[in-house]
């Protein structure tokens, strides 16, 4: 499905609603950073932004523009999936065409199933993938060549997970791995429609401002004025050089 065929959720008359889902359960690896970076980059383009943090004992609003989910340990991950399936707000938002960035444990729970504390758990079934346990824990720098359909430069991040993720035909890898493990040593992350899942933290958007802008373009339906990305540029260059990743 091409992203152009999805209707944009709303005309940009009201504030851009960026929803951080369950920071009390899923926020382990500086995940707040993705929210802070999106808010800053949207405001720098003159958008009014309404950042919303939804706790796991609260209903997930379905009228958000961008949804963020972060990393977490096994227990909170399983609990998060249960509560999101019971709540249904995130499913309604995705059906409306909301943009999503979901990271690590949050990424795994977007699939049909994942493993937590040795038990197979039902995921949200919002991306065509499932996750199981890998032979080793993947910890370290992660870099790769993004799917050409996304128009992004090299992606860079730090991964820390014990799972391996297997994509079905309904999801494309976010990137082809050049350094690190990602999903399975070959592919990293997944995307479909306006959903992006990734094992990258760092947080991901700090090292990949173009990915932040992609989410903002998807949700606003407009092209964005460039920002001064001197420092993120230096950080990217340093991290990519440190692992010998080149385009």
């Amino acid at each position: 499905m091409s992203t152009d065929s999805i209707p944009h959720p709303r005309a940009r008359e009201s504030a851009l609603r960026i929803v951080w889902v369950y920071p009390d359960l899923l926020s382990t690896y500086g995940d707040r950073g993705n929210l802070l970076i999106l808010v800053r980059r949207a405001r720098a383009r003159g958008f009014a932004v309404d950042p919303i943090e939804v706790r796991s004992d609260q209903a997930v609003p379905s009228d958000g523009d961008i949804y963020l989910l972060g990393g977490g340990e096994d227990g909170p991950q399983a609990l998060g999936a249960q509560r999101l399936n019971a709540d249904g707000g995130l499913h309604r938002a995705v059906a409306r065409g909301a943009a999503v960035l979901t990271v690590c444990a949050g990424y795994q729970l977007f699939g049909s199933s994942f493993f937590a504390k040795g038990t197979k758990c039902a995921g949200l079934d919002l991306l065509d993938l499932y996750s199981d346990r890998g032979p080793t824990r993947a910890v370290g720098e992660l870099a790769g060549h993004p799917d050409p359909g996304l128009g992004l430069p090299l992606v860079t991040g730090f991964e820390n997970h014990g799972g391996r993720t297997h994509l079905g035909p309904g999801a494309k890898p976010l990137a082809r791995v050049s350094v690190g493990i990602g999903n399975d040593g070959a592919a990293e992350g997944a995307w479909h429609g306006r959903i992006i899942g990734t094992y990258m933290h760092g947080p991901a958007l700090a090292r990949n401002p173009a990915l932040a802008d992609l989410l903002l373009r998807w949700s606003t339906g407009t092209e964005l004025a460039p920002l001064d990305d001197t420092w993120p540029g230096k950080l990217r260059a340093e991290r990519l050089a440190a692992v010998g990743a080149t385009s």
Partner: protein
């Protein structure tokens, strides 16, 4: 067991564990201290127990403040007699073993214990008192999750004949300490809340309001503290106020002093006798040290994790501030915790940044809208600031690098 035999075995264990640590580092498998400790105890599993026997022992553990609280507690127990302590922060069983062997026979010992090793060290040393300070995220790429650590602590103190001194303001610590038979609660405070919004007992949300917290789903709630900090004083269980004049900065160190006094009270030390000794502690392995260099008055603050950074901002004075970040093995390789720290208390100050991972910090500060200058080295940082005060806040190896530039100040 003779006095001569013990140090020899301790020497062997220490020597072999050092070799293992060096091999581990060379192989890039870790920082070496874990495998080193493991092998040291393999050689003589009873060595630490033998060395601890006959001493009255206090253990201090927690994510932050354990080195400082150990030093303060050792100072307080000094009222009674000689105290063995691992004052260099080698806080795993090999470190404890070497510290006790080196000290010779002392009536008292105060040991700082890495959170992961608490159960093992309680088992080995049968302490009279265990102080539990706080639990928060630390070294994301390898530490256990906070709730898991609390659960290990809970198992470690359950059913033990030991006095537990615990922080009433940290829900994770309270849940762990409640499993013990005898607990003295200290209101040590908790500036960092983001690892304890979910109840470790039932999974419900934890509410907080004006210094009190409670679980919305079960009976876990803040216990009434026997010791608390009130402005510049510590209030003891009888309600008596003791003015605390420390050289160490910040509210957190007054709280650490309250914990030290509560531990010492279990040994029969009166607060009034201990306080003059606490006031003599000026710095701990360079932490909080103030150094004069080229007309600058430089103060060193170590901050290893988000909770530690919040405390450091509270201690730092309104002066030019140098932040230095590395991500080497002892620091943890993952810098994403930078986004768990709100740097806005630094807004309005002149901020300089340096260290291996200064670029991560640069992006973080830009997002936080804190203006900064990047300096490539300590020398350039020093040259960039005028005479007067310079506050330095750094994480572990960055701190050690700067300390080395200052002739390993203590």
């Amino acid at each position: 067991m003779t006095e001569q035999k013990l140090p020899l075995r301790a020497k062997l264990a220490t020597s072999v564990s050092r070799t293992a640590a060096a091999l581990s580092r060379a192989a890039g498998r870790g920082d070496g201290s874990v495998i080193g400790g493991w092998i040291g105890l393999k050689i003589d599993p009873q060595l630490l127990a033998h060395l601890a026997a006959g001493r009255r022992v206090a253990l201090v553990s927690g994510t932050n403040g354990k080195t400082t609280t150990t030093r303060l507690t050792a100072a307080a127990l000094g009222v009674l007699g000689e105290v063995a302590t691992n004052s260099l922060g080698a806080n795993m069983p090999t470190g404890h073993t070497s510290a006790l062997a080196k000290a010779g026979p002392t009536p008292y010992a105060v040991l700082e214990v890495d959170e992961h090793y608490l159960g093992q060290v309680i088992e080995a040393t049968t302490p009279a008192v265990v102080a539990l300070l706080n639990l928060s995220r630390d070294q994301l790429d390898r530490a256990k999750e906070v709730a898991m650590m609390a659960s290990l602590w809970r198992d470690a103190v359950k059913g033990r004949d030991v006095e537990v001194v615990a922080n009433a303001d940290d829900p994770m610590v309270v849940w762990a300490a409640r499993a013990a038979d005898k607990v003295t609660w200290v209101a040590s405070g908790q500036r960092w809340h983001d690892d304890s919004w979910v109840c470790p007992q039932c999974g419900s949300h934890i509410e907080r309001e004006s210094g009190v917290w409670w679980c919305t789903g079960c009976d876990l709630r803040r216990p009434t503290p026997q010791w608390r900090v009130e402005d510049d004083a510590v209030v003891d269980p009888s309600g008596a106020r003791h003015a605390v004049a420390l050289q160490l900065p910040g509210r957190i160190n007054r709280a650490n002093a309250a914990t030290a006094l509560a531990v010492a009270a279990h040994f029969g030390v009166r607060a009034t006798d201990a306080l003059p000794r606490l006031a003599q502690v000026a710095s701990i392995a360079g932490r909080y040290a103030t150094v004069q260099r080229e007309g600058r008055t430089i103060r060193l603050l170590l901050a290893k994790n988000p909770a530690g950074w919040l405390e450091a901002f509270d201690m730092a004075e309104d002066a030019p501030t140098l932040l230095s970040i590395n991500a080497r093995d002892p620091d943890g390789l993952d810098t994403s915790w930078l986004y768990d720290v709100d740097f806005s208390p630094l807004r309005g100050r002149r901020v300089l940044i340096t260290g291996d991972r200064a670029m991560d910090l640069a992006v973080r500060l830009e997002v936080n809208q804190i203006p900064f200058e990047h300096v490539p080295s300590w020398r350039r940082a020093l040259a960039a600031v005028p005479s007067g005060r310079l506050e330095v806040i750094a994480n572990y190896t960055a701190f050690q690098d700067i300390r080395a530039e200052l002739d390993r100040v203590n």
